[in-house]
Amino acid sequence: MCNCGKNEYTPVPSKLQDIIKHTAQEWTFRFTYVGDVKPGQFFQISIPKVGECPISVSGIGPDYVDLTLRAVGKVTDYLFDNFKAGDSLFLRGPYGNGFDVHEFEGGELIIVVGGTAVSPVRGVVQYLCETESAKDVHMIAGFKDPGEIMFKADLKDWAEKIDLTLTVDGAPEGYEGKVGLVTKYIPDIPIRDISKCKAIVVGPPPMIKFSMIELVKRGLSEDNVWISDSRRMSCGIGKCGHCRINDKYVCIDGPVFKFSEHKTLID
């Protein structure tokens, strides 16, 4: 008999505890899960006969993980259309390296996120909110328009503990909040010592690119910036090849990378 160890491709059953609807296309599914997991890691949601797709952990509880997803295709649409709290489906993971929350404790931190990218950093912010350094966390969260704002309850809660800038790319007349791309607010972040300041930037590639330009202008070192990347994935465990860039596999070496390292990876 084969001595190959455990079959890592086998998904395990998980009961859906709850479904939290943010917008029409973005819902959080609360999956039963007990075990180690870090913010920034991801799971493969696995629906037999439909397929699998990688989704970042957006929340961690004693017996659950939250996965927040956008309905964009086969697996995600199927989830939106066919499940309710109490149903059972399948997961495998967690995969990837995730964020080391302790890395960001005790110093100044800038977080720039766009849209669903709040998911991978949510756990980091939640952790830091409960520490002494909460007041040194400067977060800029950008959404397309007011209707697309997600995690509203969190944002409200965080606004009391950290320095939060909530902005939308565009808004109908009469909107009272901030309007403009996230990059617009980077120059105004109050930082005491930029040489030691760290940053987390997560969002679509163009958002990362232009945010980095602004951050570097402020004097931030590329060695002090972490990003979370995403690629087409199939296996999630470094075998199928889809997510490879140079000698790195986003699924196992990432999705979190130091910017200075990520810069040397060319698709």
């Binding site: 084969c2 190959c4 086998t10 397929g51 060319i266």
Partner: protein, 329 residues
């Protein structure tokens, strides 16, 4: 321990081995080639050594037995996921030195369970294969075999290393002798691999040539003994969708769709970029991570390419460009 057999005697060895093993070997299929009236050398099961094609390199590799084109991973029923069974009967695969070296440790569950029931037998190389550059890739020699086969002037020479198989060889009546398998020491092409590839080279105009020439058919990946990428796909059989399976199917980094993500983002749009991704993986990136180069220089990709793109040439061009770029700084 070595043996020299007449053909008939060696077929007795095969007969004895077949009590436990199936023998998988390259076979010449007349008229089954890509075009009408062309032949192809593909792997198949054999019982007699005359049925194996031992002179010419196979067009397709041994992959089918270890990395099937399409492999069922799981079966689904109403509420159950069941790991797919596999054919666990032991197999002896006849392959050349380069192909044996193309099977490094993989650590993949489905690969390892297939690998576990396979023994490799070495086909000695009497001459270099067309387009080969195995010597410079260091894959022309190996001692990782259960036994070797060299057919010379109607005689079959075997060096037997695997004790488990010894009885089958001993009982067939051949002459005991010292036998060394044949290895080539000069391949058809010479290549020089750059030790380091500076990051600028990833965007170098040298790759543009391939944007013009390559038609992203993916045949080069398909025949390559070391290409193992796959995509997981679910299918269901019945109209009500209650029964189905999860498969993994070979994927090609040259073909459209390999990197497509939601929102229409594609990572490498041009064929030149895809060529760069493939070539650097085979002779640089993989080595950086795992310590040895992936490509074994078998030359199959050159032979199969409809656009006559040469992998060996590409490695040499890359090396020349690396020299130019690093000497000019």
């Amino acid at each position: 321990m070595g043996f020299v057999y007449k053909t008939e005697e060696f077929n007795k060895v095969l007969e004895a081995l077949e009590r436990k093993y199936r023998i998988f070997a390259p076979v010449l299929k007349v008229g089954e080639g890509r075009f009408r009236d062309t032949d192809v050398i593909r792997y198949d099961y054999i019982s007699r050594i005359e049925d194996a094609e031992l002179e010419e390199r196979s067009d397709f590799s041994f992959k089918e037995i270890l990395i099937p084109l399409s492999e069922t991973m799981f079966y689904f029923t109403e509420n159950e996921i069941k790991e797919a069974d596999y054919d666990a009967r032991p197999v002896i695969v006849l392959m050349r030195s380069c192909d044996i070296q193309g099977n490094g440790p993989n650590n993949d569950w489905f690969y390892e369970r297939l690998r576990d029931r396979v023994k490799f037998a070495l086909i000695g190389c009497g001459k270099a294969c067309p387009n080969s550059f195995c010597v410079d890739m260091g894959s022309n020699k190996t001692d990782e075999y259960a036994f070797s086969i060299d057919v010379v002037d109607g005689k079959v020479y075997c060096d037997v290393k695997d004790d488990e198989l010894f009885a089958a060889f001993e009982g067939a009546g051949g002459l005991k002798d010292n036998v060394e398998p044949r290895f080539v020491t000069e391949a058809e092409f010479k290549v020089t691999r750059p030790e380091e590839v500076p990051i600028e080279l990833f965007k170098d105009p040298m790759w543009d040539e391939y944007t013009k020439r390559c038609v992203n058919c993916g045949r080069c990946n398909f025949v390559c003994p070391t290409c193992t990428c796959f995509t997981i796909q679910d299918v269901f059989y019945t109209d009500n969708g209650r029964v189905g399976e999860r498969r993994r199917v070979n994927a090609s980094c040259m073909v459209d769709g390999y990197t497509d993500v939601a929102g229409g983002l594609v990572m490498r749009k041009t064929n030149g970029e895809r060529m760069r991704f493939k070539v650097l993986h085979k002779v640089y990136d993989f080595r950086k991570r795992f310590g040895y180069d992936m490509c074994v220089g078998c030359g199959r990709c050159d032979t199969v390419c409809p656009e006559y793109i040469s992998f060996a040439n590409c490695i040499n061009k890359l090396n020349a460009r690396v020299k130019e770029v690093t000497e000019n700084v």
